[in-house]
Symmetry: C2
Subunit: 312 residues, 2 copies
């Protein structure tokens, strides 16, 4: 399985970790601030990789998790909202050339799916659907023990599937996407619109408003806050019904901050899903579980990608 350096490119931190074969505990781990609006992000990334490089110099591959959109086949970042200097940026080729080892890249949601399948909540499953619900809605799918990437490497952008063509605008500018109903910002946007229309609530339309604040109000019994999560869960059920009909997994794994709220989101989600699945067999033996890898999902997914890629 080789010695691997895994990299997680985040909006806040650049992380690198060194893994020996058959061990998911890194023997070295470093992070630096991304400072995404200042030049030199790539140079900072090289430096943090060098800081975990083993003394014996032996590394078999590098795996990288990054926000997309990106091209995993070529290893290019097409464009990423946080790091503005990376446009059609050959991240994996550059790393491979500089460090003289193979380097493999995919987006963070795909690699969280791969990490959960190989090391986390999805172990033992061959067909996995992973969804992260946070500032966006991201997806990753394992089919028959293979990560679904697609021709352009843009498969499973599941937050950007349409669940209601007349729905609100998504952060991407298109109407009616799952992300426009069920992400944290979508929940806040709904509250703001309802407050603007005169809805009664303990919530205030101010800068502190967040999906977390809405969740707290819902737990205190605030009807508007409860209805916001009910709506998010209802549409999440529509989306997941579509994904079951499309991919037919044996497990659905939820990651991301918004999915931490529990029954507030998942009671309406479960009711909606049951109502929408068109054949009961999809639900036979289906597990619905929370992600197990937490903040390390990106690193462990990058580790899995590198391991699998060099074994091919």
């Amino acid at each position: 399985m080789g010695t691997i350096i895994a990299i997680d490119v985040g909006g806040t931190h650049l992380r690198a970790a060194l893994y020996e074969p058959d061990n998911t505990q890194p023997i070295a781990h470093q992070r630096v601030r991304t400072n995404s609006n200042e030049p030199g992000v790539y140079e900072r990334l090289e430096a943090v990789v060098e800081s975990v490089w083993p003394k014996d110099g032996k590394v078999d591959a590098i795996g990288v998790a990054s926000p997309g959109p990106l091209d995993p086949h070529a290893g290019y970042i097409l464009k990423t909202p946080n790091i503005t200097e990376w446009v059609n940026f050959p991240l994996a080729p550059n790393l491979s050339k500089h460090f003289n080892v193979p380097a493999f890249l995919d987006n963070d949601a795909n690699l969280a799916a791969l990490g959960e399948w190989k090391f986390g909540a999805g172990r033992g499953h061959h067909d996995v659907l992973y969804l992260t619900i946070s500032t966006g809605v991201g997806g990753g799918v394992i089919i028959d023990d293979h990560l679904l990437q697609g021709y352009h490497g843009l498969a499973t952008e599941l937050g950007h599937t349409i669940v209601d063509p007349d729905g609100p605008l998504c952060s991407c500018g298109f109407a009616g996407h799952l992300e426009a109903f069920s992400s944290g910002p979508a929940i806040v946007k709904y509250i703001l619109a309802e407050l603007g229309a005169g809805a009664k609530s303990e919530l205030k339309a101010d800068a502190n408003l967040s999906a977390r604040v809405v969740a707290d109000a819902a737990i205190h019994g605030d009807a508007l806050a409860i209805s916001a999560y009910r709506r998010a869960g209802e549409y999440l059920g529509i989306g997941v019904a579509n994904f079951l009909h499309s991919f037919d997994p044996s497990i659905v794994i939820f990651g991301g901050g918004v999915s931490q709220v529990g029954p507030l989101l998942f009671d309406p989600f479960n009711a909606s899903l049951k109502k929408r699945v068109f054949h009961p067999r999809y639900l036979e033996g289906l597990k619905i579980e929370m992600a197990a890898l937490g903040d390390d999902a990106g690193l462990l997914g990058a580790l899995a990608l590198a391991q699998i890629s060099i074994e091919k």
Copy 2:
């Protein structure tokens, strides 16, 4: 690749064909009427297989295409709308036992996808989306040269994905499915509703009304008929945008009678798709083509399934 007998179970006919290695022209081909409401469908199927059995007795495998829902892993028909005596029916195991060769089963849309990928319009592509638009809307997907089947074997029921949760009821009883907008019966149902609401048209609400009759009226300039296909194409574009975002194929192949109408359906489809795809890269190099195998899609898909399965 072996000598294969391929079977296509249809509502009207049961077909069997004998294929030698490396030849997609059968050396024997027979069909009998299904007579699906009379007992003995399975016995008629055995007889038609026997009628193409080679004189030397040497057959390496049997492949079967059948309407679903079915379990391709176990080879069982769960239930099929036409053949009422087949409920949890062990079709592949029975054939395998009777003829003493391995037998493999999958549904007709999946096998049309597999056939088009291996022998038809999808040759040379690794990631294929196949859609058949006829009395229903069926789907099949090839990912990285593998047929997507799923944990229960129920993946890619793409006609039963929700494109508008407030939409009309599908034949399956659930609301807002792609099939409820874009299938032949959905086009007819829309016309009937509009006529009932007083819409002007040359079309009459009688027993002759069909998607084909609506297409003829549209070609003559009938505004209601044109709007029916515009709506079917608009929602087909929403569905296919979701499938691109989910599977990211390099080719979309359309089969089925309704897809034969040409620009009536595909002009609004193309406009809708372009409007809905959230990143232009999905369309780079994407081919959109008509199915090449016609009525033989089921047989050739069953041939491909058997060939691939015995090579595993």
